[in-house]
């Protein structure tokens, strides 16, 4: 078994599909470790990340976008942006990628048992939220209501599009989608995610709010959650920063005194509000 | 040598003008011989200004190094001029930046400071190490005098100035809106005798000379960052896809880096010597740059940084350009 912290494991891409198209398209990879022992020993929880990469090009820290309850595979949804993500986008079913991790902390799923959960996502920010949604869905009896709020610029920019109608059918679960500008045949909300949140007007009582998305959206969502009287301790978000090692050595991912790779990526607003660099 | 009182008075007058946002000059450093770039934003700031043989920094770098922060919504961008103190070599940087359209001539207010040579701090530190007390220096009748803790010391100029000052042919600013002090005598020769000793060596000997030096390069990029002509928005060094020059620090990538930089400066280097001054591992970069200056001068009869109207060498073509360098 590989215990070397920098030596990645080889995994085979089983399936890929595009979530969105265009210059910064998002492609999802379903991958399985080649080594059976690695596959069997791998454990992760919602919120954690992994260093995935292509040998000869490099690695990139990507949030694991599946719940361990879904099976013995991993899913990553990757936006095409830099050198490594461009190389990852070249991969098709049958190709190899490297995976090491899991890294970082996770959403405190045990602490949250019995509570209502509302996730508020925007764009690619839904990727780290998807595992917690799937996790709660699989353990529905242990949690209260689940509300999924998710928006993007246009309907074509929404990730995991096919999953929401099924999700909405689950008991005590509701899905609210939004796009910024009106489109024909769009049956859902039109406007910005923070405004949709106000329309939903969730109660803060016994409820955890998790938000992830572009910085500007997070900013307004946080403001609105405060308007809805959510205590800081009941608001969670995930941070992302440039990373290289994933294990607190290379130095760069800190936001103030917090290392995103070790202290995060999951933080409560109670922690982050005192970290000036957190929303830089 | 300019009168400091006059310099400060001029600076105060300048910074008080409505069309000037900042004046860049020099002030005494935190210890010993050091001086530091000084950003004058109010008349009071001007009281710290100095100009002496210790003012090594080429401040023209700051004209292109300035970070453009986004203008807050509703606010107007600050389009006022930057005033800048320049020595002869520094002024050539301003001219070359203008000629290349890196900066606009009307965006700078140039205050010329004729210069008789800048002290090479390494030479001074060899003579008087461990000097913590602030030291003042001045030019005096072709010599340089220093008030050291142990008393006054006077050196012939040639003994203590930087190598680039010995070959300098532009001690008087070539561009200036106003000049402080009298023009000084041009002492440097038009030839390139200073690199002759290296040129006469064969390729193997030359590589032996450079190999150790390039090998010790740390790739801290201080040479690039201090260079007033290195102002590309995206440098080849940071290109990742493809990575023309790898980040690995070894003789091959270091050589690629140093050569790429030297070639990018061909016909552009204005010989301020800042790259060599700041190099922490003392790579004699002016040798490399002087060789290119020589080639440019001999092949194309071109001297960069003297005429702001001149077309930069490498963007021009003349039918009678020599072609014998083509193999």
């Amino acid at each position: 078994m590989n215990t070397h912290p920098y030596k990645p494991n080889i995994a085979t891409v089983q399936d890929t599909w595009f979530e969105t198209y265009g210059d910064r398209c998002i492609k999802t990879f379903k991958v399985v470790f080649d080594d059976e022992e690695v596959r069997d020993n791998w454990t992760h929880l919602p919120g954690q990340c992994a260093m995935i990469g292509v040998l000869g090009t490099g690695e990139s820290m990507i949030s694991i976008s599946c719940s361990p309850t879904e099976g013995k595979f991993l899913r990553f949804s990757v936006m095409r942006a830099g050198k490594v993500t461009k190389a990852l986008h070249e991969l098709e079913a049958g190709d190899k990628m490297t995976v090491r991790g899991p890294y970082g902390n996770n959403f405190p799923v045990d602490e949250w048992k019995g509570k209502n959960i509302i996730t508020i996502g925007g764009g690619i920010g839904q990727a780290p939220l998807r595992p917690i949604i799937e996790y709660i869905r699989a353990k529905k009896a242990e949690y209260g209501d689940l509300t999924v709020v998710y928006g993007a610029r246009t309907s074509a920019d929404l990730c995991f599009k096919g999953e929401f109608s099924e999700l909405a059918k689950v008991e005590n679960t509701s899905c609210r989608l939004s796009i910024d500008v009106k489109e024909e045949d769009w049956p859902h909300y039109v406007g910005f995610v923070p405004a949709l949140l106000m329309e939903i007007n969730p109660s803060f009582e016994n409820t955890i709010a998790i938000t992830c998305g572009p910085p500007i959206m997070i900013n307004f969502v946080l403001q609105n959650l405060k308007k809805l009287n959510f205590p800081d301790e009941q608001i969670y978000t995930t941070l992302e920063n440039r990373m290289k090692c994933g294990i607190g050595k290379c130095g760069r991912c800190n936001a103030g005194n917090l290392y995103v790779c070790k202290d995060g990526p999951v933080f409560s607003y109670a922690t982050l509000k005192n970290v000036p660099e957190a929303f830089a | 040598m300019p009168d400091l009182e006059k310099l400060r008075a001029l600076a105060k007058e300048t910074i008080s003008r409505d069309d000037i946002k900042c004046l860049i000059g020099w002030r005494p450093g935190t210890y010993g011989y050091r001086t530091s770039p000084h950003f004058v934003r109010s008349p009071e700031d001007a009281d710290q200004l100095i100009f002496s043989p210790l003012c090594s920094s080429n401040l023209a770098t700051y004209l292109t190094l300035a970070e453009k922060r986004p203008v807050p919504r509703g606010a107007q961008p600050d389009t006022r001029k930057v005033a800048i103190l320049v020595k002869g070599c520094d002024s050539r940087a301003v001219v070359q930046q203008v000629a290349e359209q890196g900066i606009k001539r009307e965006a700078v207010y140039v205050i010329g400071c004729p210069c008789e040579g800048i002290i090479d701090l390494r030479k001074l530190e060899d003579k008087y190490p461990h000097t913590l007390e602030r030291v003042e220096a001045r030019w005096e009748n072709g010599k340089i005098s220093l008030d050291l803790p142990g008393g006054r010391a006077v050196f012939p100029r040639e003994e203590i100035v930087a190598g680039k000052c010995l070959t300098c042919r532009y001690p008087n600013p070539v561009i200036a809106d106003v000049t402080v002090g009298e023009d000084v005598e041009v002492r440097g020769s038009a030839g390139f005798e200073d690199i002759n000793w290296l040129e006469v060596k064969n390729a193997q000997e030359r590589w032996a000379f450079w190999r150790d030096k390039v090998n010790s390069c740390l790739r801290c990029y201080s040479c690039r960052n201090v260079c007033p002509m290195c102002y590309c928005e995206e440098c080849i060094l940071e290109k990742q896809n493809p990575a023309w020059i790898q980040r690995s620090v070894n003789i091959s990538e270091n050589t690629a880096f140093q050569l790429a930089r030297a070639f990018h400066l061909a016909g552009r280097c204005i010989e301020c010597g800042e790259c060599e001054r700041v190099c922490p591992v003392e790579i004699p970069l002016t040798h490399l740059n002087r060789k290119l200056v020589k080639e440019v001068s001999e092949q194309f009869a071109f001297t960069p940084g003297v005429d702001p109207e001149a077309k930069p060498l490498l963007v021009g073509y003349r039918p009678n350009d020599k072609e014998d360098f083509i193999l």
Binding site: H4, P5, Y6, K7, P8, L55, G56, G58, G82, T85, K96, E240, N241, R242, K244, C245, I247, G248, K249, C250, G251, R252, N254, N257, P276, A280 | G29, T30, Y31, G32, S36, P37, F39, S57, Y62, L65, E67, H130, L132, D212, K213, N215, S216, C220, Y221, S222, N225, V226, E238, Q246, R247, S248, V249, N250, R277, V278, P280, V281, E282, I283
Partner: protein, 335 residues
């Protein structure tokens, strides 16, 4: 114990199977390189330009090797045993501080191998540099943190203080070369060390700094102290406690490797996201991070200031950005 200077070459020769690094000129620069001739050692010179961290944390280090297109990944072979001979106490103390990072929860295997395989033979600093301020940072010209052996130059001989088992091992093979040190020798060494500490003129009391820094986040002081910064890597690359690195892949022919290389928080690319967003967009933010990392974040995490007062960043900054000047401004700035 005492080692006569005549016997230095024999002493080094009596160390079997280890590569001995010492301060030597490489090009124009003093740095720690493998010793071939004892005569090339610069033991009286002050701090090397390049800190000896380069021995345990090389500027560029291969981590993994693999063939292009293959999936067999080989980890780089562990480094052999080394001796750092003539390391200054501040630099040894810096390694002791940096150990915190590389052994934080998960051991860094490359650093671990080099660090455990190295023996640090210190040379007390009897002639401190103009910008040395080790005594303000919890060290001193003869501090022993991180060292296995400490030598003090007594003129004709070195006084040898064995500090650890590793240090003792090193002396074992050279038993017949060492003399007994007299009480007078020890006292002479103590006096020289004290005299050196007294020669250190640059001082600051850093005790209040970690507490002040968070409150000064938006202070104009950062704009002031970074205005002339060129954004080069000198202050970080040559800092013995700076440990940040980048990881890259490189291919030559069919052979590829993943390597790490020193990186600097003063470079824009250090924190640049692939999206183009940069959480530290300018030199103001980057300078603030450098100071906060050393004097606040590191203290939060590891209860020690990540600065040993070696003075390199002051000596070598092209534009005289002086860390003591920054700290004194931080100390004086109204909260």
């Amino acid at each position: 114990m005492k080692l006569n200077k005549d016997k230095l070459a024999d002493f080094l020769a009596a160390i079997p199977g280890k590569t001995i690094f010492g301060p030597q000129l490489s090009g124009e620069t003093l740095k720690f390189t493998p010793i071939t001739k004892t005569g090339d050692l610069c033991l009286t010179a002050n701090n090397t330009t390049v800190p000896p961290k380069s021995v345990v944390f090389p500027q560029t280090e291969t981590m993994l090797r693999f063939e292009q297109g293959a999936t067999d990944i080989r980890t780089a072979e562990p480094a052999g045993e080394t001796v750092l001979f003539g390391i200054r106490p501040c630099d040894a103390r810096a390694m002791y501080i940096v150990d915190n990072v590389f052994f934080w929860d998960v051991d860094d295997p490359y650093y671990l191998a080099r660090r455990t395989n190295s023996t640090l033979v210190g040379m007390a600093c009897l002639d401190p540099c103009v910008n040395c301020f080790c005594t303000s940072m919890g060290g001193g010209p003869a501090s022993t943190e991180g060292l296995d052996l400490l030598l003090t130059d007594l003129g004709d001989s070195y006084l040898l203080e064995v500090l650890t088992g590793k240090g003792e091992m090193l002396c074992q093979g050279a038993g017949n070369l060492l003399d007994e040190a007299s009480v007078a020798d020890k006292e002479a060494a103590k006096l020289l060390q004290q005299k050196a500490a007294g020669q250190i003129r640059r001082k600051i009391d850093p005790s209040g700094i970690p507490a002040r820094l968070p409150a000064l986040w938006e202070s104009p002081v950062w704009e002031k102290v970074s205005a002339s910064c060129l954004g080069c890597g000198i202050c970080t690359y040559l800092c013995p406690t700076c440990h940040c690195f980048d990881m890259q892949d490189e291919t030559e022919g069919a052979e590829s490797r993943r390597y790490r290389t020193w990186d600097s928080c003063m470079f824009p690319e250090y924190t640049l996201h692939a999206s183009g967003h940069n959480p530290r967009p300018a030199r103001r933010e980057r300078t603030r991070n450098r100071i906060n990392h050393k004097f606040s974040y590191f203290v939060d995490k590891f209860k020690v200031i990540a600065c040993v007062g070696c003075g390199r960043c002051i000596n070598l900054c092209p534009v005289n950005i002086d860390i003591l000047d920054i700290l004194s401004k931080v100390g004086e700035e109204a909260l």
